[in-house]
Amino acid sequence: MKNCQLAIIGGGPAGLAAAVSAYQNGVRDILLLERDKSLGGILNQCIHNGFGLHYFKEELTGPEYAARFVAMLKETAVRVVSDTMVLDITDDRVIHAVNTDGYHTIRADSIILAMGCRERTRGAISIPGTRCAGILTAGAAQRFVNMEGYMVGKRIVILGSGDIGLIMSRRLSLEGAEVLACVEVMPHSSGLQRNIVQCLDDFGIPLYLSHTVTDIIGRDRVERVVIQKVDENRLPIPGTEIAFDCDTLLLSVGLIPENELSRQAGIRLDPRTNGPEVFENMETTIPGVFACGNVLHVHDLVDFVTREAQNAGKSAADYLLRDPMPATEAYRIEASDDISYTVPQKLHPAIPQKAVSVFFRVRRTFEKSHILVTDGETVLCAFSRERMAPGEMEQIYLPTALLRRAKGNTLYISCEEVSK
């Protein structure tokens, strides 16, 4: 068995920023484990631009954003081991990994989980119809087209109008495919408005809202896809069928944090995020094990991933080189019904920083509104927003000085619209 001070699992933007930050905060013995050939994670296949507007104040493509952090990593003495798959982590922080050199066990004093997320598949949303070829997730298609150089089809229907579905509609149209429809079960798209304009409208691709795929027909390969309008309970309405003759169906129906390893290690997961429950320093329920990026909760902007990962990297350095935080929880953060989750879920006592960041998502659209943080009786602080939507993650900074005024150990976060 080998030893190391800090092991980071996953070399996407989260793992890269965590590694650089831990190094800058004094940790010298760092191992970064990545299963792919190269670093950068999902960014390598996201060749479109729109990355880094917050962090670098310029618009970069995915590979360019990754390259900036790979360059920063080269300045450090972090050891990168790619083409290496982590199979298991134990609760006493022993990592089991495999690569072409064989099977390895590594004991780490601290671990940062940065495995990202994976896509929901047909099975996860149970679409009826035959099991023919030509059905794949939008992210798999993105990798085929943008990295491996394979075109996935000629006549394509896309289910799901989140950003990945929209980006792939444009990408495949540019490559000469006919994208017949983008189908969305909800009455609104969860993607950014700018992507609806530049990915669908620019190419004349129709968006069918409140519709879903109800049948897939084909012997060996997809031949036809049937969609139907749905009612307010998302049940198909008979008589509204539209059939598309196509050879490919792409699914862009959501992402799930990749937490098999966390589960095996016995880390407590939050059923709302499907990711580990964490403190404000990104520490999980196992002391010395931290998590950041899409493995923790699904992010839409890589810039937020980077900041969260820097926090995890610094916290791991504090844990290893300075005083570890006690494993006690001083406050729990409770979200109101309009908020689907918060990250972090809990706070340590005596936090040294001036403020702690809290990410959350609203369940419905809010026009001009206030975000309120209370202790159940008094409002501790309030933040105003022009508009909030489920597709966009919100972030607030809670001043730690205010926490001392809180009675009890629960903080409640809620949103209310201000009437004009």
Binding site: K37, S38, N44, I47, H48, N49, G50, L53, E59, T61, P63, E64, A67, V145, N146, M147, E148, G149, L174, E175, G176, L192, Q193, R194, I196, V197, Q198, D202, L301, E392
Partner: protein, 114 residues
Amino acid sequence: MKELTCIVCPRGCRLRIDETRDFLVMGNGCERGIDYAKAEITSPVRTLTSTVKIVGACHPRLPVKTNRPIPKKLLREAMTILNRITVHAPIRIGDVIVKNIAGSGADLTATRDM
């Protein structure tokens, strides 16, 4: 009066533009929305991102982009040009792959070291 969504940044402001009042723009969250709305109405532009064939690298496709937005109507022509290109590794980020693509004035550059 025309309505459009600004695509310059993820905020996606809803812009209103009045052609009768010297292209007066309203609803913009920042200055960049004004330029966008005027350009979108007179001659819309987009940044093109795509890939070209590469040999001798770890993957067979090299990601590329136009180093500035090009007229929307030139997107198809630019795609036909880059579909015919094969480059050889090594390529550095920022290397010019095609100068002045489709006469747009923009260069097609690499977005990854390969």
